[in-house]
Structures are given as C-alpha cells and as structure tokens.
C-alpha cells in the first residue's frame, strides 16, 4: 500500500477581513492521502492537526446543502464531494469570487441568495388562500418532474463564481437566478405572465447581460440544464418584447 500513498500539497488562501493585521496570503500544508479522501476530510485534518484557525464551511458533507463551494485548482466545486484522487498532488484552494469574503475559504453566499430570491420573488404568485379542507390541485407527473428538475439547485454559488458577467457585476442573476425564474415560469400554479417576468429578465442584470461563456453549466454540481434555461428565457423574452412592440 505505502508505496502508492501520495503526499498531497495544499496551497490555501488565508485572509481575515475582520482582523486589521491580516494580509491576504497563502499557506502550505502537507497531508498523506487516504482512500476515498474528500476535501471535507482533508480540510478537517488540516484544521485539526495544523491550523485550528482555518476557516471553511461544511454542513451536510453529502453534496446537498450547498455550503462548501470553493475554487479547487481554479475551478468552482463542492469541496465535500471532491475526491482528492481526482486531483493532482498539488491542490490550490481559494474562496469563491463574487461573494463577500468571511474569512479564508468561507464566503457569504446566504446574503446573495436571499437577495436573489427577493428579486425574482421566487414563490408561487397570486394563489388563492390555502384551503385546508380541499384536495390538492392536480398536476401531471411529467410537469412535476420537469419543475423538480429545475428546483434541484442547491444555491452553492458555483455557477455565480464561474460567471463572467457576475464577476463584473455581482448583482447579475447568473445561472442560479435565471434557473430560478425558469422554475417558476414553467410552474402552472404561478400566475405571473410573460410580461411580468419581462421586467426582471430584461433588466440590466437579467438574461441579456449574459456574455454567453456558459461556464455555469460546466461547473454546476447538480448538472442543471442551464444552457437550456438560458435559451428558453431568451426566446421567451424576445417573444414578449416583439409582441409588445406589435401592439
């Protein structure tokens, strides 16, 4: 076994913006690789063995809560499901760009995503009051499955970090925001019309601000069809723009 064990070299970004004496820099740590080692395991070992102050975020450690995205060798990824065996011996870890830095590898995605939910009003609109005695409204399983497909976004921020437009204007809705719009637009329970959506979509931070690099789809850990989302929303917005001009 031992001759195949790799020595991993981690280069990790360090900076605590709350501390006036802290300067951005990188620290280097070395660890012996173990079978099925994920970055979750590695980072905890580094914290517990070498540097108890090292800041990073994990909660579910099963790729579902979206807490742990970071730049892994230059690419946004969920650290908890990244196996070191898929990486070279040298592993560079940086915090996601675009989001406010909390410290080291930890960023404030919560504030960004709450603002996105507020801006897209990511809830079913103009529903009747809930009637506890009524049977549920029907929906075909195919439509439910299609909505679920887009509902799967875990708000990890990988697509935002990879987005050229969001890196210039952090208010750009990016893949996650546009996907959220598509999710509600296809939901028959939501009464918003194409014209209602047009306002958000055609805004400076809406679908036309996308510069078309489509890195978002490549980095999405849930493999959401962001390219389709983008095409769908563009077509919808153009159609809305045209039909309003014709009137």
């Amino acid at each position: 076994m031992s001759e195949t064990t790799r020595q991993l070299r981690f280069e990790i970004f360090r900076y605590n913006p709350e501390d006036a004496d802290s300067e951005p820099h990188t620290d280097v740590f070395e660890l012996e690789e173990t079978p099925f080692m994920t970055l979750y395991i590695a980072l905890n070992q580094i914290r517990e063995k070498f540097d108890p102050g090292l800041q990073f975020d994990f909660a579910c450690r099963s790729a579902i809560c979206g807490s742990c995205a970071m730049m892994v060798n230059g690419r946004p990824a969920l650290a908890c499901r990244t196996l070191t065996s898929d990486l070279p011996d040298k592993i560079c870890l940086y915090p996601l760009p675009v989001f406010k830095l909390i410290g080291d590898l930890s960023v404030d995605t919560g504030t960004w995503f709450r603002a996105m939910v507020e801006r897209t009003e990511a809830w079913i609109h103009e529903r009747l009051p809930f009637d506890p005695d009524a049977t549920e409204e029907r929906m075909s399983d195919d439509i439910a499955a299609a909505i679920y497909e887009n509902d799967r976004c875990i708000e990890c921020g990988c697509c935002v970090a990879a987005c050229g437009a969001a890196n210039i204007d952090s208010a750009f809705l990016a893949g996650a925001g546009l996907n959220r719009i598509a999710r509600f637009q296809m939901d028959p329970r939501d009464q918003r019309t194409d014209a209602d959506w047009f306002e958000v979509l055609a805004s400076e931070q809406g679908v036309f601000a996308c510069i078309g690099m489509m890195a978002c789809e490549d980095v999405c850990p849930k493999e959401l069809p962001l390219l389709d989302v983008y095409g769908y929303l563009r077509r919808k917005s153009l159609a809305t723009a045209l039909s309003s001009r014709e009137k």
Partner: protein, 648 residues
Amino acid sequence: MTSKLVTTDVLVIGGGLAGERCAIEAATAGHEALILSLVPPRRSHSCAAQGGMQASLANCVKAEGDSPTVHFLDTVRGSDWGADQEVANIFAEEAPVAVRELAHYGVPWSRVRGGKNHYFIKGEEVDIDEPLENDGLIGQRDFGGTAKWRACYAAAGTGHAALYAVDSEVVRLGIEVRDRVEAVALIHDGSRCLGAVARCLRTGAHFAVMAKATVIATGGYGRIYGQYTTNATINEGTGASIALDTGIVPLGNMEAVQFHPTALSPSGILVTEGCRGDGGYLLDKNLERFMVEREPQKQELASRDVVSRHMAEVMRGGDGVESPYGPHLWLDIRHLGEEHLRTKLLEVWDICRDFVGRNPAEELIPVRPTQHYSMGGVRVNKDGQAYGLGGLFAVGEAACWDMHGFNRLGGNSLAETLVSGRIVGRRVAEYVSGYELRADTGIALDALKAAEQRAAAWLARSGNGPSVYEIRDAMGETMMHKVGIFRTGEELTEAVAELGQLLDDCDNAVLRSKDPGLNPELAFAMRLRGMLRLAMTVAKGALARTESRGAHFRTDFPVRNDSDWLNRTLVRWGMDEGMPTFSYESTGLIDLPPGHRGYGSDERIEMTTTLDDYNKNVLADQIRHGRLDSDEEMGSRLRRGAWKTATG
C-alpha cells in the same frame, strides 16, 4: 454593528423546516419574528431529507384504505408504545393538510400516473393499474413500518424541495433571519423564558435577544456519535443543551436514539429508506437476502430499529462484508433499473457516484446501520410549551413532543416538522398576543456577561491540555461502541465513566487558536461541554432503563416491560450540578392498548394496572413533572376507540 440588546415578539432559534414553519405562523398572525440560524436557512439539515413525508392521502392503489387512523396505529406501534397517543393522533390527522400546504407553497410533489405502473413489491415485479381518476394527485411510495403506501415525495429530494418552498414563504413575509448566529444560553427568571443570548459566528460578538416567546427548533444531536452519524456537522444539539443548562426544563427520552439501516460505509452518508420502499434488498456477504427469513411479514420494510438490529446480528455472526473500516452489508437496487434510479431516486444515484464511485444500476452499495435520529429532546406539552419555563417552546427534531416514542417511522419526521410547526406556531402567536414584553434587561445583561466570560475563559486557558477534537473523537467512539444498537449494563457503565472523564478533560482542554472573533475552534469548544452533557444523559438514561423498547435495546433485558417501564424518561441537569437527575412520567393517555408491533419480537411483560387506572393518573403525574397547561384539556384530541374500526 449589531447592538448588544435586541427585542422581538417571537425568537425562533433554528431555521430548518420546523423553525421556519413556526415563524410563518407567528408572522402571519401579525407578530414580529426573528430567526437565528448557524447557517443560511436553506442549508439546514432539513434539506438533506430524501425519501418522503408521511401523510395518509391514499391516492394510489397500494394506499387504498389508508386514513389518519391507520397512520396513528402505525406510528404508535412504531414507537413501541412510547409515544403520547394524543399527540400521535393530532399528527396523523393534520399530516395530509401539511403535505397539501406544501403543494400550495410550490413543492413539486411526484404525482400519480393513471394507468399501468410497474412496481417491485417484496421481491416481486408487479404491474398495477392506478385509476385514471387519481391521475395528477400527490403520489405515495412505500416506507418501513407502515401498513399502507403513505410517503409523499419529490424524487429523493423531498427535504430540499420542502425547505426551499418554506424558506421562500419566510422571505415573502419579510421575516428577518440572522444566519451564522448561535444561541448559546437561554435568558430566564426561573419561571419564564425571556429570550436568549446569541453569539455571532462571523465576529465572535455576543448579544441578547429579548422576546415574548422563544422557540427552540435546533434539530437533532447526532454529532454526539462523532463520525458515526448521518447527520450534518451542525447537528450538535445546542438547543437541547441550552435548555438542559437551565436545570429547570427537562429533556425527554434521551436514550431513544435511532440507527438507520442504510448509511454508506464508511462515510455515514444516508441512502434513503425509499430504496427499500421502492423494492431494494439487503444482502449479506454471500449475496443472500437475510431479511426474508428473519421478518417474513415486512422483510426489508420492518421498522428501522428492527432492521438495524438484524443487520448488526448478521455482521456479528460473521456474514458481513469485511472492509478496512469494519464490516458492512450490501444494499441492492440494481433491479429497479437505471430509469427509475435516475428519476425517482436521483439523489441516491448522485451519492453513489460521488462518494463510493459506484453505479447503483450495476453495482451493490456498501451500507451499515448508523446513528440517524434523536427521538429525545426538549420535553413539551401538546402545544409545544416546554415543561417548567413559560414562554419557551420547542418544535421539530429538537423537541420531545412525543409522537415518536422509542422509534420514529421513516417519513414521519418531515411531516412532524410541518404539522407541529403549524400547531406550535399558532399557540406561540396566541401566547404573545396581549403579552407585554418585560424589559428585564438586568437578567439579560447578566446572562450576556456570563456567556462572554465563558468564551474569554476558553481563550485564557493555557498549558498543554487535550485538544477539543480529541475529546470529540473519544466521545464518538464511546457512544457508538457502548451506547449503540445493542446495549448492556456493563458497557453502559463503562460509557458513563468514560464520558465523566471526558467532561473533566473538557475542563482542561486548551485551544490552539486564540482569536476571539472568527475562530472555528473556539466556536466548537463552546459547544463541546454541552455535547458531552447530552451524551451523558443518553448513556445514563440507557443504563437506568432496564428493558428493551424500540431503538433502546438491552441484551441483558431484551424484553419490553410494560409493567415497570411504560413511561417517559425526564432528565434535568443544571450547569453547576455534578450529575443529572432522572425522573419518570406517565407516557400519556393510552387508547391503543400495548401489544405486538406486527414485526420484531412478540415477547413482553404485560401491564399490571388496568388502562383506566393508568389513564386516571396521567394528568396529575405529568403536572407533577413540570407540564404546563395546554390550551385545550388533555385528551381533547384523542379519538377514543377509533382504531377499532381501522383495517391496518
């Protein structure tokens, strides 16, 4: 800068499904609510729930004949008669409303497909015609320990879909959420809870929140089992801990800890019961299905405590698959087919690919029983009002409301968070109406100062004492190996001694990082003592309970004993007291008489009193143990005898 003193009507500690649903109710009634959470609410552990949410909607053929009464029966049997039967009934009656309300909030529930459907049931392939008139209604899948198909689901991402919909409602209502904030102590005057002291995890600053009502919704405490848990790293039981610290509020049934049969070996990541519900098998090292012989009736779908015990026995008997991390068994879902796995069990597909590099359509999944759910928690009455302190409520996994007794059925927990969130939220709203905030800032500032001093003391300690992480790991080993699936008096005695030693070690532990602000080691250290105290209440409670009930199994007392132990463990432990104090209250009004669960062992020691005599004493007994008045009298929502007509 946050101010040192914040006021609100309703303080909700915890932004998972239970806390948020409760806050929605309070806000809708016109009260101001403030939610605190360790993480942005959508990252709460509720998002990880996979398989489903139980509610007797009875929309598909295999659910025909289901009703709240059958759901009630399954829940009480699942609890091994440890549940409060009135609460179980309230729950079963309101679960369908909670599922439909989620549909109203936007959850894309999987729906019934009218016409021919292909299923796997107990090893057989079956075609069933779902009636066309049910097409498009919310569908159900099978889960363990239930007479009917009852688990409503959104693929294997039910918790995610539910939490996102509920959190959107929180945003829509403009409810304030402060994330990366941890409640570290309750503020109280000995009879009333006045709020909580909180610590900002970004800056290390403490502040006090004064509220008319305070709700603990902090989820489970699986992390006292170290790495041997399916729970998120943030499930450290801080809510139960700060309640225990008061010395006034008791925790209920802490020894009732659930082990889930199918967590990945070795990472402990959960693979949902929906896999077995949809027809998956458990196999030993010879690739034999051992559950068919051991539980002919329910096979792989007996309740979790029963399946976990059979698995542990199989592994002890040498039929586990050896691995560097100890033995495991196999979960086989290959026969369900790739299409089913990539739609109805998509999250399982992802987990297998990401964490064990396996394709479940072609390969077996290595699993073993792992700590999963905390049945115990802050003891409350049927309104969610905690025993002992007026104005303190608890809800969700953090509470012992107590519909689960000694074993929770799969899918009943998501349903509990929403049902109890609605009910308790309504009670909280009523409680704060017409209640003037008592600006007893003296008590609040004292509590604030005490919390600041605790943090300062950690930082001031020097020398070369043990690290907090060593203590945590040792706690996990003790809990898994000596307070696990099978328990004995001897091992539990050792566990109590070891935990006592670890509590001493904790007093000498030294931090390596001295930053008072952003400091993960300090944040963890401040929880560690509370975790050890919870662990101690579990171990001591398990040692004292000399019977086997639900998930609490004593090999030296292998039989359920309704003569001596038809009761609920309560434990109180003030911060300055050396050891916890245990007492035992009546379980609650009993309508369904204790009997055989329909799976597992049929041996038991019968009650020696009559049900009438037992029931006569319940109210007075619980009041003696600290129960505060509920809005409606005890028993008002027990439908006496309804179960006699149920077919389940």
